[in-house]
Amino acid sequence: MPTTLETVGVLRPTNALPNGFAEAHGRLASFSALQANWDGYGAGPIPPAILSAVRAFLDRLAQMSSPPVPRDSTFPAVVPLSSGAVQLEWHVGERILELEFETAEVIHFLKWWPQKGVAVEGTYFANDLSRSVTLLDWVLCGHDSA
Protein backbone atom coordinates (compact mmCIF):
# COMPACT_ATOMS: atom_id res chain seq x y z
CA MET A 1 0.00 0.00 0.00
CA PRO A 2 1.47 3.40 -0.86
CA THR A 3 2.39 5.65 2.01
CA THR A 4 0.04 8.57 2.38
CA LEU A 5 -0.77 10.87 5.23
CA GLU A 6 -3.88 8.78 5.75
CA THR A 7 -1.87 5.59 6.20
CA VAL A 8 0.80 6.96 8.51
CA GLY A 9 -1.21 9.39 10.58
CA VAL A 10 -4.21 11.63 10.86
CA LEU A 11 -3.95 15.10 9.43
CA ARG A 12 -3.79 17.81 12.04
CA PRO A 13 -4.80 21.44 11.45
CA THR A 14 -1.93 23.50 10.13
CA ASN A 15 -2.32 25.95 13.01
CA ALA A 16 -1.44 23.18 15.45
CA LEU A 17 2.17 22.55 14.56
CA PRO A 18 4.26 20.70 17.13
CA ASN A 19 6.20 23.20 19.19
CA GLY A 20 9.62 22.65 17.71
CA PHE A 21 8.59 22.55 14.10
CA ALA A 22 7.54 26.17 13.84
CA GLU A 23 10.96 27.14 15.16
CA ALA A 24 12.61 24.74 12.73
CA HIS A 25 10.77 26.49 9.89
CA GLY A 26 12.14 29.82 11.05
CA ARG A 27 15.69 28.57 11.12
CA LEU A 28 15.29 26.98 7.73
CA ALA A 29 14.09 30.28 6.28
CA SER A 30 17.21 32.00 7.58
CA PHE A 31 19.44 29.67 5.53
CA SER A 32 18.37 31.32 2.29
CA ALA A 33 20.33 34.37 3.45
CA LEU A 34 23.59 32.46 3.86
CA GLN A 35 26.17 33.93 1.50
CA ALA A 36 28.92 32.09 -0.34
CA ASN A 37 31.70 31.09 2.07
CA TRP A 38 29.40 31.49 5.07
CA ASP A 39 31.38 28.81 6.90
CA GLY A 40 34.76 30.37 6.09
CA TYR A 41 35.80 27.19 4.31
CA GLY A 42 34.32 27.79 0.89
CA ALA A 43 30.71 26.66 1.31
CA GLY A 44 28.23 27.78 -1.31
CA PRO A 45 24.69 29.01 -0.68
CA ILE A 46 22.13 26.36 0.20
CA PRO A 47 20.24 25.37 -2.98
CA PRO A 48 16.62 26.60 -2.91
CA ALA A 49 15.42 23.16 -4.04
CA ILE A 50 16.84 21.58 -0.88
CA LEU A 51 15.31 24.26 1.34
CA SER A 52 11.94 23.65 -0.30
CA ALA A 53 12.25 19.90 0.13
CA VAL A 54 13.06 20.18 3.83
CA ARG A 55 10.21 22.65 4.32
CA ALA A 56 7.78 20.29 2.63
CA PHE A 57 9.10 17.38 4.68
CA LEU A 58 8.56 19.27 7.95
CA ASP A 59 5.06 20.23 6.84
CA ARG A 60 4.17 16.62 6.12
CA LEU A 61 5.47 15.49 9.51
CA ALA A 62 3.82 18.35 11.34
CA GLN A 63 0.45 17.48 9.89
CA MET A 64 0.59 14.01 11.41
CA SER A 65 -0.91 13.28 14.76
CA SER A 66 1.10 11.54 17.46
CA PRO A 67 2.95 9.30 17.37
CA PRO A 68 5.61 9.86 16.10
CA VAL A 69 5.50 13.63 16.28
CA PRO A 70 3.70 14.70 19.45
CA ARG A 71 2.98 18.37 20.07
CA ASP A 72 5.78 18.59 22.62
CA SER A 73 8.16 16.89 20.23
CA THR A 74 11.84 17.44 20.76
CA PHE A 75 12.95 20.36 18.63
CA PRO A 76 14.90 19.21 15.60
CA ALA A 77 18.09 21.16 15.10
CA VAL A 78 18.21 22.36 11.49
CA VAL A 79 21.79 22.46 10.30
CA PRO A 80 23.29 23.47 6.95
CA LEU A 81 26.33 21.56 5.75
CA SER A 82 29.20 23.02 3.79
CA SER A 83 28.23 20.70 0.93
CA GLY A 84 24.92 22.53 0.52
CA ALA A 85 22.95 19.76 2.20
CA VAL A 86 20.60 20.43 5.11
CA GLN A 87 20.49 18.15 8.12
CA LEU A 88 17.75 17.69 10.72
CA GLU A 89 19.05 16.44 14.07
CA TRP A 90 17.10 15.02 16.96
CA HIS A 91 18.91 14.46 20.26
CA VAL A 92 16.77 12.50 22.70
CA GLY A 93 18.68 11.29 25.71
CA GLU A 94 21.56 9.28 24.28
CA ARG A 95 19.78 8.64 20.99
CA ILE A 96 20.59 10.80 17.98
CA LEU A 97 18.93 10.79 14.59
CA GLU A 98 20.33 12.76 11.66
CA LEU A 99 18.33 13.15 8.46
CA GLU A 100 20.52 14.81 5.86
CA PHE A 101 18.92 16.04 2.65
CA GLU A 102 21.83 15.35 0.31
CA THR A 103 19.61 16.48 -2.52
CA ALA A 104 15.95 17.45 -2.69
CA GLU A 105 15.16 13.80 -3.39
CA VAL A 106 17.56 11.78 -1.21
CA ILE A 107 17.91 11.57 2.58
CA HIS A 108 21.12 10.18 4.11
CA PHE A 109 20.27 9.10 7.65
CA LEU A 110 22.25 8.17 10.74
CA LYS A 111 20.89 6.35 13.77
CA TRP A 112 23.34 6.88 16.61
CA TRP A 113 23.27 5.35 20.07
CA PRO A 114 26.80 4.09 20.66
CA GLN A 115 26.07 3.06 24.25
CA LYS A 116 23.77 0.42 22.78
CA GLY A 117 25.96 -0.37 19.81
CA VAL A 118 23.66 1.40 17.36
CA ALA A 119 25.47 3.17 14.50
CA VAL A 120 23.52 2.72 11.29
CA GLU A 121 23.49 4.91 8.24
CA GLY A 122 22.01 4.67 4.79
CA THR A 123 20.02 6.49 2.18
CA TYR A 124 16.41 6.51 1.04
CA PHE A 125 14.11 8.64 -1.04
CA ALA A 126 12.78 11.72 0.70
CA ASN A 127 9.25 10.92 -0.40
CA ASP A 128 9.38 7.64 1.54
CA LEU A 129 7.58 9.13 4.52
CA SER A 130 7.00 5.79 6.21
CA ARG A 131 10.78 5.31 6.46
CA SER A 132 11.16 8.69 8.10
CA VAL A 133 8.30 7.94 10.47
CA THR A 134 9.95 4.70 11.53
CA LEU A 135 13.24 6.48 12.22
CA LEU A 136 11.47 9.21 14.18
CA ASP A 137 9.61 6.61 16.15
CA TRP A 138 12.98 5.18 17.13
CA VAL A 139 14.56 8.44 18.24
CA LEU A 140 11.51 10.00 19.88
CA CYS A 141 9.94 6.94 21.45
CA GLY A 142 12.69 4.33 21.52
CA HIS A 143 10.73 1.88 19.36
CA ASP A 144 13.28 -0.11 17.39
CA SER A 145 11.76 -1.29 14.17
CA ALA A 146 13.90 0.98 11.99
Binding site: W38, G40, P80, L81, S82, F109, L110, E121
Partner: protein, 122 residues
Protein backbone atom coordinates in the same frame (compact mmCIF):
# COMPACT_ATOMS: atom_id res chain seq x y z
CA UNK B 1 43.86 20.32 17.76
CA UNK B 2 41.51 23.24 17.27
CA UNK B 3 38.93 23.79 14.58
CA UNK B 4 37.61 27.29 14.08
CA UNK B 5 33.87 27.81 13.71
CA UNK B 6 33.14 31.16 12.10
CA UNK B 7 30.35 33.36 13.46
CA UNK B 8 27.81 32.49 10.75
CA UNK B 9 28.44 28.82 11.41
CA UNK B 10 28.41 29.14 15.21
CA UNK B 11 24.71 29.90 15.02
CA UNK B 12 23.96 26.63 13.24
CA UNK B 13 26.77 24.21 14.05
CA UNK B 14 26.65 24.53 17.82
CA UNK B 15 22.95 24.10 18.59
CA UNK B 16 22.52 24.28 22.36
CA UNK B 17 26.28 24.19 22.72
CA UNK B 18 26.48 20.64 21.34
CA UNK B 19 28.85 20.38 18.37
CA UNK B 20 26.98 19.20 15.28
CA UNK B 21 28.53 16.54 13.11
CA UNK B 22 28.30 19.18 10.36
CA UNK B 23 31.58 20.57 11.68
CA UNK B 24 33.39 17.49 10.39
CA UNK B 25 31.44 16.63 7.24
CA UNK B 26 34.37 17.21 4.96
CA UNK B 27 36.80 14.86 3.22
CA UNK B 28 39.47 17.43 4.16
CA UNK B 29 39.25 20.19 6.71
CA UNK B 30 41.53 22.75 8.32
CA UNK B 31 42.60 22.72 11.96
CA UNK B 32 45.38 24.17 14.09
CA UNK B 33 47.84 22.15 16.14
CA UNK B 34 47.48 23.13 19.77
CA UNK B 35 51.18 22.61 20.53
CA UNK B 36 52.07 25.22 17.91
CA UNK B 37 49.65 27.99 18.86
CA UNK B 38 47.49 29.30 21.68
CA UNK B 39 43.81 30.08 21.88
CA UNK B 40 44.41 33.82 22.26
CA UNK B 41 46.65 33.77 19.19
CA UNK B 42 44.04 31.84 17.23
CA UNK B 43 41.23 34.11 18.36
CA UNK B 44 43.24 37.09 17.17
CA UNK B 45 43.48 35.67 13.67
CA UNK B 46 39.76 35.02 13.22
CA UNK B 47 36.76 37.37 13.26
CA UNK B 48 35.21 38.33 16.57
CA UNK B 49 32.59 35.74 17.47
CA UNK B 50 34.55 32.78 16.12
CA UNK B 51 34.31 29.69 18.32
CA UNK B 52 36.81 26.86 18.59
CA UNK B 53 36.26 23.19 19.21
CA UNK B 54 39.05 20.94 20.39
CA UNK B 55 39.86 17.31 19.71
CA UNK B 56 43.00 15.21 19.85
CA UNK B 57 44.68 13.89 16.74
CA UNK B 58 44.89 10.51 18.46
CA UNK B 59 41.15 10.27 18.83
CA UNK B 60 40.67 11.49 15.28
CA UNK B 61 43.06 8.81 14.05
CA UNK B 62 41.16 6.03 15.81
CA UNK B 63 37.97 7.27 14.15
CA UNK B 64 39.40 7.11 10.66
CA UNK B 65 40.75 10.64 10.23
CA UNK B 66 44.33 11.50 9.46
CA UNK B 67 45.88 14.82 10.54
CA UNK B 68 48.86 16.23 8.65
CA UNK B 69 50.92 19.26 9.61
CA UNK B 70 50.68 21.41 6.50
CA UNK B 71 51.53 25.07 7.20
CA UNK B 72 49.89 27.58 4.90
CA UNK B 73 49.68 31.36 4.52
CA UNK B 74 52.36 31.84 7.16
CA UNK B 75 50.46 29.84 9.76
CA UNK B 76 52.89 27.23 11.07
CA UNK B 77 50.20 25.64 13.24
CA UNK B 78 47.95 24.84 10.31
CA UNK B 79 47.06 21.23 9.64
CA UNK B 80 44.75 19.47 7.26
CA UNK B 81 42.65 16.62 8.54
CA UNK B 82 41.71 14.04 5.94
CA UNK B 83 38.98 11.47 5.98
CA UNK B 84 38.36 8.87 3.33
CA UNK B 85 34.66 9.52 3.12
CA UNK B 86 33.08 6.40 1.83
CA UNK B 87 29.40 6.92 1.28
CA UNK B 88 28.63 4.11 3.69
CA UNK B 89 30.20 5.59 6.82
CA UNK B 90 30.92 9.28 6.43
CA UNK B 91 28.13 10.27 8.79
CA UNK B 92 29.27 7.81 11.45
CA UNK B 93 32.80 9.22 11.36
CA UNK B 94 31.66 12.83 11.53
CA UNK B 95 29.23 12.10 14.35
CA UNK B 96 31.84 10.14 16.30
CA UNK B 97 34.35 13.00 16.11
CA UNK B 98 31.69 15.55 17.04
CA UNK B 99 30.89 13.46 20.10
CA UNK B 100 34.55 13.51 21.13
CA UNK B 101 35.24 17.21 20.67
CA UNK B 102 34.40 20.06 22.99
CA UNK B 103 33.77 23.74 22.70
CA UNK B 104 36.75 25.48 24.28
CA UNK B 105 36.41 29.10 23.19
CA UNK B 106 33.49 31.27 22.26
CA UNK B 107 29.84 31.13 23.10
CA UNK B 108 26.80 29.75 21.35
CA UNK B 109 23.59 31.57 20.47
CA UNK B 110 22.21 30.34 23.78
CA UNK B 111 25.14 31.75 25.68
CA UNK B 112 26.75 28.41 26.41
CA UNK B 113 30.41 28.14 25.72
CA UNK B 114 33.90 27.26 26.76
CA UNK B 115 35.30 30.09 28.76
CA UNK B 116 38.34 30.54 26.60
CA UNK B 117 40.78 28.77 28.87
CA UNK B 118 41.57 25.11 28.70
CA UNK B 119 44.32 22.59 28.92
CA UNK B 120 45.85 22.33 25.50
CA UNK B 121 45.50 18.99 23.87
CA UNK B 122 47.58 17.32 21.22
Amino acid sequence: MYRAILPAAVAVWLPDGKPSSAIFHHPKFSADIADKTTLPELAGRWPVGTAFVQFTSGVARTLGFSAHHEPEHGNDAHANVYCDHGTSDRKKKARALAAQCQLVHGSTPNGRGGGGTTTLAE
